[in-house]
């Protein structure tokens, strides 16, 4: 079972999936509150560039990651103001954010292309890292990967076991009833939107600070959109989003390693693997959701007007 090839593919899956996971986990929280944010691509880019900029100024990747959290959150605030305060079309606002984030990051990023930064390196966790098979797959990474091992269960706990989580789910299902029960719908939605975008910003910073160790325009290459898709696939659940993100990461990791061992399959077919997998899994997910009713939050994407 401990074939080095499989271990390498799976370890690569965790690494490749982590950036998407941050973004998808954030989007789960946002969408649970009834706000859909399609702007993850732009938010990740802004996170990636703010992470690099601040890390190269301060020399600390930790401060860089925090800056990405703030940067992503600020873009989330824009989306929140548009879609909550002004009750704008959330799809349109999300697309605006994608374009805005791409432009902003390209503009501010020019000064940081090719900049040397201190990055997180892989740290093997004592004991856990020595477990055969599992150890090299999960416990021989950088600190941002380990962060998700804590973050994702925490988010699940937040969503299902806390009052705040209940409030988020309530405003996402039925804002009128939630409001009648004394929940301040806009406040909860503001929180969920800004927090979700902040996490997406961290996902972007993972790409620039840790994974590729540098900034280049448009470096997310569609991963923000993948993250939006993963939320549907995950049935709006943080733990399933983790599985989905690793599946996406795994498909990419497999594609590249199949090439490294020298298969004769067309590179185009291999390049399609991540997307093909997602389509297949979507189809299965949709069919299953029809049977079990654990689908989308009922008020998703609908503007809430408290004065109507």
């Amino acid at each position: 079972m401990a074939d080095p090839f499989i271990v390498a593919v799976l370890a690569g899956a965790v690494r490749s999936g982590t950036a998407v996971l941050y973004a998808a986990a954030g989007e789960v929280i946002t969408e649970r509150s009834g706000i859909i944010n399609l702007g993850l691509e732009g938010i990740m880019l802004v996170g990636a560039v703010s992470g690099i900029a601040i890390a190269s100024i301060t020399g600390s990747p930790f401060i860089g990651i925090s800056a990405a959290f703030v940067g992503g959150g600020l873009l989330g605030l824009v989306h929140a103001i548009l879609s909550i305060r002004f009750q704008a079309n959330q799809i349109a606002s999300g697309i605006v954010l994608t374009i805005l984030g791409g432009g902003l990051s390209a503009f501010f990023g020019i000064a940081y292309v090719g900049k040397q930064i201190n990055s997180f390196s892989a740290v093997k966790i004592p004991f856990l890292g020595d477990i055969p098979f599992i150890g090299s797959i999960f416990f021989n990474h950088d600190i941002m990967v380990y962060g998700t091992y804590i973050l994702i269960p925490l988010l699940a706990f937040l969503l299902y076991k806390t009052k705040l989580g209940l409030a988020i789910r309530a405003v996402g299902e039925d804002p009128d009833s939630a409001s009648a029960a004394g929940i301040r719908v806009s406040h909860v939605r503001y929180f969920a939107t800004i927090f979700g975008a902040a996490l997406a910003g961290m996902g972007g910073a993972y790409l620039s600070l840790v994974y590729a160790q540098g900034w280049i325009e448009n470096m997310t290459a569609g991963r923000g959109l993948i993250a939006v898709g993963l939320v549907l696939f995950a049935g709006w659940d943080p733990l399933k989003a983790m599985f989905g993100a690793y599946l996406f990461g795994g498909a990419q990791s497999l594609e590249l390693r199949l090439q490294a061992i020298g298969t004769d399959i067309s590179p185009y077919i291999l390049g399609m693997i991540p997307y093909l997998l997602i389509i297949i899994v979507f189809t299965i997910g949709t069919i299953r959701q029809r049977k079990v009713n654990t689908g989308s939050p009922t008020a998703l994407g609908l503007p809430y007007n408290p004065n109507k």
Partner: protein
């Protein structure tokens, strides 16, 4: 009669108008447009074209102004940007990516008075000329360095798309390495994108896991490849631009473009109307493509060896693709005594022996 008089008057009106335009054209600097597929600060392909543009501005002050459009996709978007440049008055446009030829042809047909220079394609007609330089020549030398430096005899190559110019580079790299170390093999990983840094980083990790200790590449953006190789402790070679500072310990050498003098030459020929449609392709003897500086890891003996190959290639004593040359399946691709010409090179969609990796076409 009245009508004829009107036409005559109208024509008279036009004469000073045209004269003033002509005068204006002479005194006004010529606008030269540049279309780039990625950001110009990528330390690679687009950086090299922008370096050429800056050289042009510096060497023809007052005579030219330039317009730069970065990150233009190879789609209908390129057509739109080209039209906009022409509306802004561009008389000469350099389209600096492989996939711009189709938008180029459509726009060029609509604007016969504008000159287009398309990079990288063996195609020339009316107002479209092409230019390119043989990047495979310095990549052969980078291959020699790789072949000398590898301990595992496994080289890796991160490649964007299976197009002939990149096939030439991969094949030349492998031929160079095997000329000094016949046990060497090159594993090719296709990224299917000119730039996707996260995927490049993961691909290099995959290669290193499989035993590779020298990474060659032809991605537009060199930052990720060089830095990832440096941090994983494997050697890397460059492409398009000398980026040795990105991998201070692990840089070997590579290909480095220098378009500046060519851009000046073409711009001058368009200005004094001597420009004609042709394919300008030169190797290292033309000076548009050079060998990058050596990294500290390369010993003097290897440097000397490569320098002498460089001299021989420059003065024509040595040719990289020389017959008899077989592909990895044993099919004869270049007969003994035959010389590689532009057409032969631009149809290269096969690998030489020693290259491992999928082929797009069989």
């Amino acid at each position: 009669m009245k009508k004829q008089l009107c036409i005559l008057l109208f024509c008279l009106l036009l004469i000073p108008c045209q004269a003033s335009i002509a005068v204006e054209e002479k005194s006004k600097p010529m606008k030269v447009g540049f279309l780039c597929v990625g950001p110009i600060n990528d330390n690679g392909w687009n950086y090299a074209h922008n370096k050429g543009r800056l050289y042009l501005e510096k060497n023809m002050p007052g005579q030219v102004t330039t317009i730069m459009a970065e990150s233009v996709p190879e789609s209908a978007e390129a057509e739109r940007v080209l039209e906009k440049m022409i509306a802004q008055g561009a008389k000469l446009i350099f389209t600096t990516s492989y996939g711009y030829l189709d938008p180029d042809m459509r726009v060029a047909a609509r604007h016969p008075d504008v000159t287009f220079m398309q990079v990288n394609r063996p195609y020339a007609e009316k107002n479209i000329g092409t230019y390119f330089s043989w990047q495979y020549q310095p990549m052969y030398m980078a291959g020699v360095a790789a072949g000398r430096m590898t301990k595992t005899n496994k080289l890796g190559y991160i490649a964007a798309h299976p197009v002939p110019p990149l096939m030439q580079a991969i094949n030349a790299f492998t031929l160079g390495a095997r000329s000094v170390n016949p046990k060497v093999t090159t594993k090719v990983i296709w990224i299917n994108s000119w730039s996707d840094p996260p995927k490049e980083a993961e691909a290099i990790k995959g290669l290193v896991e499989s035993g590779v200790d020298v990474i060659g590449h032809c991605q537009d953006n060199q930052n990720t490849v060089a830095k990832t190789a440096e941090s994983l402790g494997v050697y890397c070679t460059g492409f398009y631009n000398d980026a040795h500072e990105l991998a201070p310990k692990k840089w070997l050498t590579g290909a480095c473009l220098d378009w500046g003098p060519l851009y000046v030459q073409i711009t001058k020929s368009v200005m004094n109307h001597t420009w004609k449609s042709e394919s300008i392709v030169k190797g290292m003897e033309g000076g548009y493509i050079k060998l990058s500086s050596f990294g500290p890891a390369v010993p003097d003996k290897v440097r000397k060896e490569i320098k002498s190959i460089e001299d021989n290639v420059k003065n024509g004593k040595m040719v990289v693709f020389q017959g008899p040359l077989k592909d990895r399946d044993g099919k004869l691709r270049l007969a003994a005594g035959d010389k590689a010409d532009f057409k032969w090179l631009s149809e290269m969609v096969w690998f030489v022996p020693g290259v491992e990796g999928a082929l797009a076409a069989k």
